[in-house]
Amino acid sequence: MKILLDKISFDIETYIRNGGYLAIKKAFSMKPAEIIEEVKTSNLRGRGGAGFPTGLKWSFIPADKKNKYLVCNSDESEPGTFKDRELINKNPHSLLEGMIIAAYAIGANEGYIYIRGEFAKEARILEKAIYEAKKKWFLGENILKSGFSFNIKVVRGAGAYICGEETALLESIEGKKGQPRLKPPFPAIVGLYGGPTVINNVETLATVPWIILNGGKAYSAIGKGKSSGTKLFSVSGPVKKPGVYEIELGTPFKDFFENQLGGMKEGERLKAVIPGGSSVPVLTAEEAMKVTLDYESLQSAGTMLGSGGMIIIPERQCMVEALWILARFYHHESCGQCTPCREGTGWIEGILKRILQGKGKREDLNNAKEIAQNMMGKTICPLADALAMPVISYINKFEKEFVYHLEGKCPLCQK
């Protein structure tokens, strides 16, 4: 079952031929509240990482207010994640159509797509798609004589992972440093330029047209249990067939790994799996083989579905080095507002580097875990937790490799 990457449509003519822009016609015949109800029924959860129920998020927007905004989060900077880029390349109009429906549902007349600065090509694809949609009267004033007006602007970021955090993203659109805001107030009440704002991921929004056309019930029937629908997984690491896959939630990892990814490349052995982007705890190969790819199963295995950025780690990769690379990333990307994050990410990076170079001490392992414990839940945004959780899981699950380094004899690093 495929929804997002079922048919590839680079231009608007192809998209329309494939049934595109029928969902907005149906949406305009419905009341905004009915659309929100339909999305609630679908059980669609945000695909950006946090998994917040989409219909519920939309229902927080006050119906009577003016100056409301819809913002699409296309920052996609979490290591291991490259699904939104694929979606924009292969099906850009599904995102625009989803945005038109979402905007109509919440009563927003202005929309933004915030895209990471490096995606210059994808920003041009979106500009072209917007131009095509305007020419067909799907965007602009009084869309298809519905009385509803909506315009979309593309804003390019400039290299900052933290701008994927939704309030940092709003700051960035406003032309400021990308530093997350204190919450409350939540963006649904005070968001972009002070107006009520919904922020959704590319994949979340691109799913909406299907839900409107086929009904929330049909969507909720796909997947497993409370994890409804399909999800994009971007898979990297030495498997035979890395890339972006759309699969039904609830698919066993083992099936996905063996049948779709083709298993490991010749000469490689599976050691560990990061199922949902660099911020989530790691699974050992043995643990991974037991999970199904959905919110509940991954949560009960102590990790998360996250963004679906799956990184496959082979036996030859030293886990101390892997964790150090991630710690260096989070330290580099911390916006510096909160002391536990700014200092903690730096300390952890330093400790790991020392261990990696064979200069670590036994107590460093507990120190790193303790710093991580103390970073959690104490900061303005979850970036601190996004390093803390992996630190604890990597050290606990692969302690042997850390001890090799302490003893100066890691067989995987000829350092």
Partner: protein
């Protein structure tokens, strides 16, 4: 430094499409950088003077975002991803090749001004690792052979290459 008229003209265009002067800032800095590959203090001061955005705010934004280069870069600005998937796919060896071929270290510019090299975090293209970005173009699934051919091709182009 970029011609002031050019900056002013672009500023007026973008400002007319924006909510307020401050919200033009990221796009303006991209525009200035596209011309020369980096942003000078004078450009930033000029932008502040026409937009009335305090210079301190322009500076804060310029230094916060890593894509803005505040030092001269080469005509071909090479950015190599250092995050996990690219690392596992051999990025460190590719970095060494670039350093050897160009006789520069990470963070430097070649004396002829043709190349500069910098390491960056995940470029959102991990499935085709290792990934290198040169100016605005992604080069995916890189290996030693492809990299050497690419560097050679770029060296042979003359200095008038548009970025």
């Amino acid at each position: 430094m970029m011609s002031e008229e050019k900056i002013k003209k672009e500023y007026e265009r973008i400002e007319s499409l924006s909510k307020n002067p401050q919200s033009t800032l990221l796009a303006m800095l991209h525009f200035i950088q596209k011309e020369k590959g980096f942003i000078t203090e004078q450009d930033a001061e000029y932008l502040s003077s026409i937009s009335k955005i305090p210079y301190s705010k322009v500076k804060a934004v310029m230094t916060f975002y890593t894509m803005y280069n505040l030092k001269k870069t080469g005509i071909h600005h090479i950015q190599i991803c250092r995050n996990l998937s690219c690392h596992m796919a051999g990025a460190p060896a590719l970095k060494k090749i670039i350093e050897n071929e160009l006789s520069i270290k990470e963070g430097e510019v070649t004396p002829d001004g043709l190349f500069s090299l910098t390491e960056v975090e995940c470029l959102g293209s991990c499935g085709t690792a290792p990934v290198i970005m040169i100016n605005e173009t992604y080069h995916e699934n890189m290996n030693e052979e492809k990299l050497k051919a690419l560097l050679k091709e770029l060296k042979e182009k003359n200095e008038n290459t548009t970025r």
